[in-house]
């Protein structure tokens, strides 16, 4: 008995992938790890709770959202645009990292993580938040609540979240256009 496959074509971190035949029931995280060697997304709970595995789905209307890759099939992403933690930093021609994204940089400066297992999920969640704030800024008094609500589902067992929170708040306050003028 052979495993049934379906063709898949998608864009990951700006590069076209496929068309290729991929097993029907394969979860996205396994596709990233086993077919594409993109091992940055972390498999934590495997049941959609910890959010270590989230990737960014870039939608046609220009918005972005988090999707849990451990409980979402690879074929859900057929024809779609996806970003993983590997897609944030600037690389040179040789594929070496020359600059981190603002979120990544602030996570380092604030010592936001220790073991780092949850970090890919937090990088993606914070990036989705920044992109949302760029489209729809919030007032200054709503920042704390907004950050908490966007990162709340992500589980971290080392640093107690405060350093992630402070890092994201740092980026939000120091990036022009994310906070409404006035208050």
């Amino acid at each position: 008995m052979s495993i049934a496959t379906q063709p898949i074509t998608l864009t990951i971190n700006g590069k076209k992938v496929g068309p290729m035949q991929v097993a029907e029931g394969l979860m996205m995280i396994d596709f990233l790890h086993e077919y594409l060697d993109l091992t940055g997304s972390r498999l934590g709970c495997g049941q959609g709770v910890c959010h270590a595995c989230v990737v960014i789905l870039d939608k046609a209307d220009g918005t972005s959202e988090e999707v849990r890759s451990c409980i979402t099939g690879a074929h859900f992403f057929d024809g779609k645009k996806v970003r993983t933690v590997e897609g944030h930093a600037k690389l040179n021609d040789k594929g070496e990292v020359v600059a981190l994204s603002p979120v990544q940089q602030k996570f380092l400066e604030h010592f936001s993580f220790q073991c780092g297992y949850c970090t890919p999920g937090f990088v993606n969640a914070a990036t989705v938040l920044l992109e949302r704030l760029k489209r729809a800024p919030v007032s200054r008094d709503q920042i704390d609540e907004t950050i908490t609500e966007s990162l709340n589902a992500h589980i971290c067992r080392c640093t107690g979240y405060v350093r992630y929170f402070e890092a994201v708040k740092d980026v939000v306050l120091n990036t022009p256009g994310l906070v409404k003028e006035g208050k």
Partner: protein
């Protein structure tokens, strides 16, 4: 002399202790009966004091609010007598007004005076809460309370019809628990144009809220494969092999049925299934070969459902229930299946040992066509039903206001 005094004192103490014991016995019986009658469902709001009212009850006639039944003298029932309390339960008549049948006196009518008194005794010793009642917000002509006099003459019956058959003591006790205390018929029996229960179809299923109350007649339960053991597991924990309690039934299990004694649980399931239960019907196997729309539904299932519900539909323990043989999937009416797919279900705890993760709603993720295809795949593969769900049904439920009848 001294001895006589002591003897008298001792006798007085014994009498006092006995009457206190009788009092607390009624209170503890009342505490149990309040759970069996699920008073908290409407009289305790999520953020309010116990039994201080405020729970919103939407209906086709307008919005009702559960009232304050604490012993507060101004806002609650502190000035009522046990007789007046019994009249409210039995006749729907409070000292100062006619009640609307949002208060299920239509079911409580057959409650025994002793049980009414025990409930009253329990309520009168809880903490009074000075919380004002919210007036019902009803459409004309339902906002005229005196109309209830005529409604009662037409529709208030001493006993509700049976959906099952039996005569055993457990059956008779179960009838009291299901029809009177649990007031199951209030949601599970379809209603007529004036909100009266349809006596011809007791417990036959009704769609008063966004999540419809399913058919729990012996035939309906047998058609979805329910046994007494399944029912008692469901009522005790909220989970059975046929699925978990969601919508308003989750609160019913949480506040009421999980607290029933094993004897009463047995009685309840005996009444629902009857003294001679119909055999549970096995799940019809899926027909061989599927059309393109079913196959598209299957792929949607694998893409966004199988991660938790399993590729084989078997579910995952403490994560998500099985789809195979699930009552919502096996139901002839696809309404609940579509509504749950659109809305999702909050994370739920069932007693001390069981829980299910939050299910996300797919209203923004899947199109009408995708949800129709997914519903049909589930119904055909694991529900023994035909794949007859159309996009229009999904569209209709998408736009229906939650908690109101979709019309």
């Amino acid at each position: 002399m001294m001895n006589r005094h002591l003897a008298l004192l001792a006798a007085a103490l014994v009498v006092a202790a006995q009457s206190a014991a009788a009092g607390s016995d009624a209170v503890s019986r009342g505490r149990y009966l309040v759970k069996a009658a699920d008073c908290a469902a409407c009289h305790t709001s999520a953020t309010g004091a116990p039994f201080a009212g405020g729970v919103e009850l939407k209906s086709d006639f307008g919005t009702f609010y559960g009232t304050n039944i604490t012993p507060d003298k101004e806002h609650g029932i502190g000035k009522w007598t046990a007789g007046e309390f019994y009249a409210a339960l039995r006749d729907g008549v409070a000292p100062d007004r006619h009640l609307y049948p949002a208060m299920p006196y239509t079911s409580y009518r057959s409650m025994s005076r002793a049980d009414s008194d025990a409930i009253f005794a329990y309520l009168m010793q809880i903490k009074p809460a000075a919380v004002a009642n919210k007036a019902a917000d009803l459409k004309f002509p339902y906002n005229m309370r005196f109309g209830m006099r005529f409604w009662n003459m037409l529709f208030l019956k001493d006993a509700l019809p049976d959906a099952s058959a039996g005569q055993s003591p457990a059956y008779l006790r179960g009838r009291y628990l299901v029809n009177t205390m649990g007031h199951c018929a209030e949601c599970h029996t379809p209603r007529g144009a004036l909100g009266q229960m349809d006596g011809a179809k007791p417990l036959g299923g009704s769609a008063m809220a966004r999540i419809a109350a399913p058919d729990i007649t012996p035939a309906g339960l047998s058609a979805s494969g329910w046994t007494a053991a399944d029912l008692s597991s469901f009522l005790r924990t909220g989970v059975a092999q046929q699925g978990s309690a969601y919508g308003e039934m989750f609160a019913v299990v949480h506040l009421s049925t999980q607290h029933l004694t094993p004897g009463d649980m047995w009685a309840m399931t005996t009444y629902l299934l009857g003294d001679k239960p119909l055999p549970p019907q096995p799940l019809k196997p899926a027909p061989a070969g599927a059309d393109a729309s079913i196959d598209a539904g299957r792929r949607t299932y694998i893409a966004v459902c199988a991660g938790c519900h399993g590729v084989d539909g078997g579910g995952k323990p403490h994560v998500a229930v099985a789809m195979k043989g699930n009552t919502t999937v096996r139901s002839a009416d696809p309404r609940n299946l579509i509504a749950v797919t659109l809305d999702g279900i909050e994370a739920q705890r069932f007693g001390a040992k069981e829980s299910m993760q939050a299910m996300p709603g797919f209203a923004a993720k899947l199109s009408d066509k995708e949800i129709a295809g997914l519903s049909n795949f589930l119904r055909v593969s694991w529900g023994g039903q035909a794949g007859t769900v159309g996009e229009s049904q999904v569209k209709e439920l998408r736009t229906a206001i939650g908690g109101l009848r979709a019309r």
